[in-house]
Amino acid sequence: MDVLAFLLEPLQYGFLTRALAVTVAAAVVAAVLSCWLILMGWSLMGDAVSHAVLPGVALAYILGIPFSIGAFVFGAGAVALIGIVRSTTKLKADTVIGVVFTALFASGLAIVSATPSQVDLMHILFGNVLGVSAGDVWQVLILGAVTLAVLLFKRRDLTLLAFDRTHAHVIGLNTRLLSALLLGLLALTVVVGLQAVGIILVVAMLITPGATAFLLSRSFDRMLGIAVVLTVTASVAGIYASYYLDISTGAAVVLCQALVFTAVYLFARPDGVLWQARRRAAARAGSGRLAAPRSAA
């Protein structure tokens, strides 16, 4: 089989081109958002929101409304609930997040288990990207475009918020509104990514691209660009891997992103682990004090 046939064969199938479109769109939005999440230390928040949408999806299926509405209502509701509980108790943030999202996730499971219906839990949890319809594709593309537009429009404010909250407040930005905006966009992104990789793995799309790009760049704009390029590559590679190796599509995409991260972690110059080790060995051998500049985040 030559290369061109290898690349074109899967594309003959309509469901695979649709899967490709949905995955790439979701991955790009998630990658852009992940850059801010990484800088703000909100990885757990992404995980929490993605789990918390389960009751929304289940209820939407039962009521027969588009699942993205249910998912978004519960995603935004979870964010609001976390904010309320945090401001009215003295519990630590991670404890509050853990309690709220397990509560919502467990009620979602209870709803699914109590209603014997066509709700396929495995499809909600792990995504069913090969089964998306043309309508779903448009839904994902439009939601993704809206999220991306808002993110890029508010880019400078959000970056300042991530790096120096106090400064942002002092120069007159409404930091609480901005945080709420970022969390709302997080809920939207989870809804977009749901279709592609499912509730459980959408958090991977919200962490890995940003973390990989963070290792490779020193400026935020470059970080955004690198994250997008890497995530698109990983998504396409993942879809092809899933087609030829016959493995779960969502998991294949996530695993490709993880492989890219591993490669960067080990081999990137000048901060990759292997280069650090080499420099340390060189320093030990006495060839100058060029120790690795281990800058903290």
Partner: protein
């Protein structure tokens, strides 16, 4: 009354009750530290990251617990390595490892379609299928957890309040941190059968959160949290029996309801500023009559 006692007359419900209660006790001891030290995300990640180990163990036919423990050890080593060596923050490292492991697990499962039903058992637990061998394992794990928690109590307290002072006092904060991660791993590995990998964290956090406002000493918090946990197991199993809901999810939901009720009761009965172990610097000193309050919380 029979609707309360009756379900537990059946063999499998009784085993589920005992097994669930043992899990709740383990989680109460460990969960108290998880809440104080802010390790919720780590616990969550451990629970999800077990998936590939459990899947491989099921495929290879070795005891599932070995696979779970293996991947949990890989997780904890990997996270600490990544956080120490690279530029990435701790929560990013946890997130990376956990999604990597999870995706690997899903791929292993999706590639061998034969045990698709077991995937749900891993993720959501199967408390009703606990056997007597599992009960012995849980009892052993509880004993180990209590012993470690008691033996290293001073070191854990010192670590929670000030790492440097702990170092100066010779309480070995690094060893204490490793042991704490080990305890979290143990709790997650042994109790995923009761509530499933997705909800273990609820059983870890919710009882400890429910107990914290009513007690001022950490051992009391643990004891009260264990009571709350057992109560949640009873309520969850009853709800599952009568309403036909998933057992693990019902238990987790009951635990969280207990936490909500506890915080509402605390607001109503608040007469003096509450002190929780996380912010009182006298965590290891005795304070008068916490047992009376504990009784009230339980009523």
């Amino acid at each position: 009354m029979t609707s309360f006692i009756g379900p537990f007359a059946t063999d499998f419900m009784l085993r589920a009750l005992i097994g669930g209660s043992l899990c709740a006790a383990i989680c109460a001891v460990v969960g108290t530290w998880v809440v104080i030290r802010g390790m919720a995300f780590l616990g969550e990640a451990m629970a999800h990251g077990m998936l590939p180990g459990v899947a491989l163990a099921t495929l290879a036919g070795v005891p599932v617990i070995l696979g779970a423990a293996g991947s949990a050890v890989v997780m904890s080593l990997g996270v600490s390595l990544l956080a120490r060596r690279g530029r990435l923050s701790h929560d990013t490292s946890i997130g990376l490892f956990f999604v990597g492991m999870l995706a690997t697990g899903v791929i292993i499962i999706s590639h061998s379609r034969s045990f698709a039903t077991d995937a749900t058992a891993i993720l959501f637990g199967d408390v009703l299928a606990i056997g007597s061998g599992d009960l012995r394992l849980l009892a052993g794990a509880l004993l180990l957890t209590v012993l470690v928690a008691a033996a290293f109590h001073r070191a854990f307290v010192a670590l929670a309040f000030d790492r440097r002072i702990a170092q100066v006092m010779g309480l070995r904060p690094r060893l204490a941190q490793v042991l704490l991660v080990g305890l979290v791993t143990l709790a997650v590995v042994v109790s995923y059968q009761a509530v499933g990998a997705l909800l273990v964290i609820g059983l870890l956090l919710a009882p400890a959160v429910a107990a914290a406002p009513w007690t001022t000493r950490i051992p009391n918090t643990m004891a009260l949290a264990a009571l709350v946990g057992v109560l949640s197991v009873v309520l969850g199993l009853l709800a599952s029996w009568h309403l036909g809901t998933a057992a693990g999810a019902s238990i987790a939901l009951a635990a969280i309801a207990c936490a909500a009720v506890s915080s509402i009761l605390r607001d109503i009965t608040r007469r003096r500023p509450a002190t929780s172990p996380s912010d009182s610097s006298t965590g290891s000193e005795p304070v008068a009559a916490p047992s009376q309050k504990a009784l009230r919380a339980n009523a």
